[in-house]
């Protein structure tokens, strides 16, 4: 727990390096785990690997890794929105742009483009969302595996 606090403090200080998960190599998963400070579990599925991080406040964050070692999808179920810059990496500005442009209230945030798909929904204390990169989907794996 102390580790978590320290790392969070680092985040608060604005010292967040450009670490990211989605679209990057598997090494970043362990980085995420350190930053998010959770317990981890790894599952091997046909055609991909699933890393699951359960943080101290109960957030479940899943990262899907292709045989090539790249994170092709992420998802979250959490009381609070997760650290999206960390999880989305170079895709985060896309989310920022779409969120800033969205003037309709009451619905989730949905991004549907050929190279990036994103959903952020749920409600207070019960957020859920997911993102994936269609071009990084492993062979014979569909986006339906992302939960």
């Amino acid at each position: 727990m102390k580790t978590t606090l320290k790392i969070l403090l680092v985040l608060m200080m604005g010292a967040l390096p450009a670490w990211a998960a989605l679209g990057e190599y598997e090494g970043s998963v362990s980085l995420d785990q350190r930053i998010l400070g959770g317990e981890t579990r790894e599952e091997v599925h046909t055609g991909y690997k699933l890393h699951q991080i359960i943080t101290a406040d109960g957030a479940v964050i899943r990262e899907y890794v292709s045989p090539e070692g790249k994170v092709f999808a992420i998802s979250w179920h959490a009381h609070f929105l997760p650290n999206l810059p960390q999880l989305l990496g170079s895709y985060f500005p896309r989310v920022q742009q779409a969120a800033q442009a969205k003037v309709q209230r009451g619905g989730p945030l949905v991004i549907r483009t050929g190279d990036f798909v994103y959903f952020s929904g749920g409600r207070m204390m019960n957020f859920h969302g997911s993102a994936y990169v269609p071009g990084l989907l492993p062979k014979n794996v569909t986006a339906e595996v992302v939960r």
Partner: protein, 619 residues
């Protein structure tokens, strides 16, 4: 020769003459063989225009040495008819109520003399010219049962500004829907009718086709009106930006322990969040600077960064106010004041994690505030009361103008005002009327004539505490630790912790196009199935209760295209994701139309001996 002017004034005597059988024919045989000329009849006016529904008097001038009688016809139909207009035996033509096709008719006066000589006139019927314009105030208001409301009608375009008042189409109203005096003073019945909304209509006495109507929703001590509309940004005309299915009510905020209060309309009603949040910019008579403060032991004022599902956020202090809704009062309850700029938004946490826009203006929020009446008492709870702080944690203190996350005790957290009412404090009931599958312009809605009425909904406080909030046969679904149904089964697939109901969500966000085998709309975030879709779900509570829920999803492009001005839809759906297999059924406002839905607060005693430590839904 005699000239005989047959006019309205003289006709009666002529008819009497005829009726008496004193028909004066020719002196001779009456045949055509004699030399007496036949009557010549001319009509005045020979041609004329008349507005639909209006009268026009004709005068027949008979030049004849006969004494003759005249019969009148329209297009050779004796006396005319309702399509062509009617003509009386005195020559008074009354144009039909609507313009016939063709718009010209022939009015003819026929002599009874031999060979039936006649005269005729051409009449062109025109659309009626409307001058009177009626307006009624106040519009779409509410009042407690048994009270009075003074309505005013403004009539322009005509000298006679008098109006006739009616309630639900009944002149002067009645004891069930309320009465209204000739001067517009409405007296509500002592018991609110069901549905609770009436239409009040003022009709111009000068032009009775012209009227204006508005709605009035009758409340009781534990009910507040629920309105559905586009919110304060109105209808943008663009399905991508218009906020459909916004649910609103009016909340009164008072300086704690005083009568210094401000009535604030257009507050979003949201069972998906907890606590009242009001824009700083709308607090004028109950200004944020005079509300109670919430501080930590070192005197630092508590701030909050509230996150929303679309990653937008609200930043501002936690302050203490008396919150009054209907006849219920929550004294000294912590609320959030959004857009107070005493402290700058902490960029490295609240802003960058949220990534979306700050909802700190009316334009950004589309409302004056948010009333969160979900299943818990505080907006964060024990997660935020301990010594730990997490990513996304909402509470902050700002010593030396540097804001940092901080734990906040339960009693200082922004709280559900309902839980702090003296009575009726165990939850709420949301009642929305059924609407057409084509949607409705708004709730409430009435047309100008007051003949088409969509009632408002009701926010009822308390569950099983009054005669108007009995649970009845509703199924109680204890929510799981996520505040969700413990399971949702669709098409034989189970989705654990798989969904919730939420008035703050504008559509039914379910599954994805791949799973459903239907299409997303090309240009907006909703579903566009070729034919309306009906989904059957089985919902389970953590208490083991189950029930069937049917969801209808129509083609959103068709809905918006058919009625571009409509804000309320009971069949608007959207994808929970695209291409992603989804494990949620997020049931927004469309679910609530035509239902009574109870939202029970955690920690209260659930009805029917149900164990519901996390609160419950019932419907």
């Amino acid at each position: 020769m005699r000239r005989k002017n047959v006019s309205a004034a003289t006709r009666a005597s002529l008819l009497v003459v005829m009726a008496g059988g004193m028909f004066l024919a020719s002196c001779g045989s009456g045949g055509t063989g004699n030399n007496i000329p036949l009557p010549v009849i001319t009509l005045s006016p020979a041609s004329a225009s008349v507005a639909a529904g209006a009268p026009l008097q004709f005068t027949a001038t008979v030049v004849s040495s006969y004494s003759t009688t005249i019969t009148w016809s329209v297009n050779n139909i004796l006396g005319g008819n309702s399509t062509l207009g009617t003509v009386s035996s005195s020559g008074l033509y009354t144009a039909p109520a609507s313009v016939p096709n063709p718009a010209t008719v022939t009015v003819k006066a026929v002599s009874s003399a031999e060979t039936n000589p006649s005269g005729s006139a051409i009449v062109t019927i025109t659309a009626p010219v409307v001058n009177a314009v009626v307006a009624v105030a106040p519009t779409d208001s509410s009042t407690p049962a048994g009270t009075t409301v003074q309505f005013a009608a403004t009539v322009t375009g005509t000298a006679n500004t008098a109006v006739t008042w009616s309630v639900n189409g009944v002149a002067g109203g009645n004891s069930t829907v309320g009465t209204i005096s000739a001067k517009g003073l409405y007296t509500a019945p002592t018991t609110a009718p069901s549905p609770p909304t009436v239409a009040v209509t003022a009709t111009s006495q000068a032009e009775t086709s012209q009227s204006a109507s508005t709605t009035l929703t009758l409340t009781t001590s534990n009910t507040a009106p629920l309105y559905v509309n586009f919110g304060l940004n109105g209808n943008t005309g663009n399905p991508n930006t218009a906020s459909y299915n916004g649910l609103f009510t009016t909340v009164t905020v008072c300086l704690p322990g005083t009568a210094d209060c401000q009535i604030i309309p257009d507050i979003l009603v949201d069972t998906g969040t907890v606590g009242l949040r009001v824009l700083n910019s709308v607090l004028t008579t109950a200004p944020a600077t005079e509300l109670g403060t919430v501080r930590d032991s070192a005197g630092n004022q508590v701030q909050e960064c509230t996150q929303f599902r679309d990653t937008s956020y609200a930043w501002g202090p936690v302050l203490v106010a008396d919150v009054v809704i209907a006849g219920e009062k929550a004294p000294s309850v912590p609320i959030q004041v959004i857009g107070d700029t005493t402290f700058t938004v902490p960029i490295t946490s609240c802003l960058s994690l949220g990534s979306g826009p700050s909802l700190d203006t009316v334009a950004a929020l589309g409302a004056n505030g948010i009333l969160g009446i979900g299943t818990s008492i505080q907006d964060c709870g024990l997660n935020c009361a301990g010594g730990q702080t997490f990513s996304g944690y909402p509470y902050y203190i700002c010593p030396n103008d540097v804001c940092q996350v901080a734990p906040v005790p339960l009693v200082q957290q922004v709280a559900n005002p309902v839980a702090f009412f003296a009575t009726d404090n165990n939850g709420v009931e949301i009642i929305l009327p059924s609407i057409s599958s084509a949607g409705a312009p708004s709730l409430p809605y009435t047309n100008a004539a007051g003949t088409s009425l969509v009632p408002a909904g009701l926010l009822v406080f308390g569950i099983g505490t009054q005669s108007n909030n009995a649970l009845g046969s509703a199924t109680v679904y204890a929510t799981d630790s996520n505040g969700n149904f413990s399971n949702v089964v669709y098409d034989e697939f189970s989705f654990p912790s798989g969904g919730f109901v939420d008035t703050g969500l504008n559509a039914l966000y379910v599954l994805d196009p791949h799973t459903l085998g239907i299409l997303d709309c090309a240009d907006n975030p909703y579903y566009c199935p070729e034919t309306p879709l009906s989904l059957s779900l089985t919902t389970y509570g953590a208490n083991g209760a189950s029930g069937t829920v049917t969801l209808n999803i129509a083609n959103a492009d068709t809905l918006f295209g058919t009625n571009p001005g409509f804000a309320a839809f009971n069949n608007l759906g959207g994808a929970r994701g695209t291409g992603l297999s989804t494990d949620y059924f997020d049931l927004g406002l469309p679910f609530f139309f035509g239902r009574s839905v109870f939202v029970g607060i955690a920690g209260t005693t659930a009805p029917k001996n149900v164990s519901a430590p996390n609160g419950y839904f019932a419907f």
